[in-house]
Subunit: 192 residues, 2 copies
DNA sequence: ACACGATATGTACGCCCGTACGTATCCCGG
DNA sequence: CCGGGATACGTACGGGCGTACATATCGTGT
């Protein structure tokens, strides 16, 4: 079937060039996927490229180093989560509604988004050894607290923020995670 | 100075064999040091061997794999921290003293033992992807809760445990960590 | 005393990594 | 419409890694 012209083509499957604007963005998203699945330790140029289905060389073209990829990925993740938190607090008309929103957010994190928690902890750990990432975590924490301060005084906001963190982390690690009712009970008890 | 006999010795500095009972234990401790300093990702056979000042081959003799080293190291760490927590709760004569002990433990963790927190978070993350380590974290959490239940009802113990976790984690990541007074305020408010 | 098993040591192998770089292809401004 | 810069692609290089293994040495039970 295939003529000599086809046979003369070297068997090397050279992948067709693709016009791919926004590839850099996709790479950052792919990096977040890899971090969530394999951890920062398992996040390599090659693995990100595989997930995004691009050649290895594309990584070094769009980023100067792997650290740059990690920093941009974590920044994007923190921004995304903080925005949701901010919007929910902004949407709450009063303190009672704000409490409900917090309970809903914590419950969602526990039940649905294992990914988000893993990414957060990965960030915490990476930040412990990388000053650039520490700035990312602190901006995130500051923004969360600020969102809470729409409805609570600063001290309460800070303590509530810590309680939320503990509830999410603790429950996510347990084989017997807290139910939304138990989450509500803990938060209500603190705020009572 | 050095006779021909000395010169005939090959210049390879073969290290003298050492009689070293308990080397396996020292290797596990060295592993914890490396994990705390460089993270699980930076924990390699070679690095542990360097820290413990033993040849690389000693690692493969005493452990069948790197995962075995990590598991034993984390198990030892969790056991050590849990024992301290347990002892402090056991030593508290009443609930008031128990609260003071909790505040002291949290404050110590924040001010002194950055190492312990890093190790805990490293364990959490490793456990998220390794079932064997998940058992370690759960045994640890169960033991902590049990210790708290000496002075608090089960629900309070669980919620207090989560609050403690959040306070330690949150403060350790902040450039503006909570003072012992602020820790006391948060715990008192929850328990009031 | 002495052999033998336990322990200690050094090294080699194959793999994956980050990064650099030369070449190929395409979009777009003039 | 065409040339040049931006983007895409493949590959090579040096290094660190986990692990296996051959060899050397020592403590100890008989």
């Amino acid at each position: 079937m295939s003529g000599p012209a086809a046979a003369s083509r070297p068997p090397v499957p050279r992948r067709p060039r693709r016009h791919d604007p926004g590839r850099r963005d996709r790479l950052i998203d792919a990096a977040l996927t890899v971090i969530a699945e394999r951890g920062v330790a398992g996040t390599t140029h090659r693995e990100i490229a595989r997930v995004a289905d691009v050649p290895l060389g594309s990584m070094t073209y769009h980023f100067t180093s792997l650290d740059e990829v990690l920093a941009e990925a974590f920044t994007r993740h923190a921004e995304s989560v903080a925005r949701v938190f901010d919007e929910r607090m902004r949407a709450a008309p009063d303190r009672k509604a704000a409490v409900e929103a917090v309970i809903a957010l914590v419950s969602d994190d526990l039940l649905g988004a294992q990914r988000d928690l893993v990414l957060a902890v990965e960030l915490y750990l990476a930040a412990a050894r990388n000053p650039a990432l520490r700035a990312v975590t602190q901006a995130w924490m500051a923004r969360s607290r600020q969102a809470l301060e729409r409805h609570f005084d600063p001290t309460t906001a800070r303590e509530l923020d810590a309680l939320i963190e503990g509830l999410v982390l603790h429950s996510a690690l347990s084989t017997d995670p807290m139910t939304p009712e138990q989450i509500r009970h803990a938060i209500d008890r603190y705020l009572r």
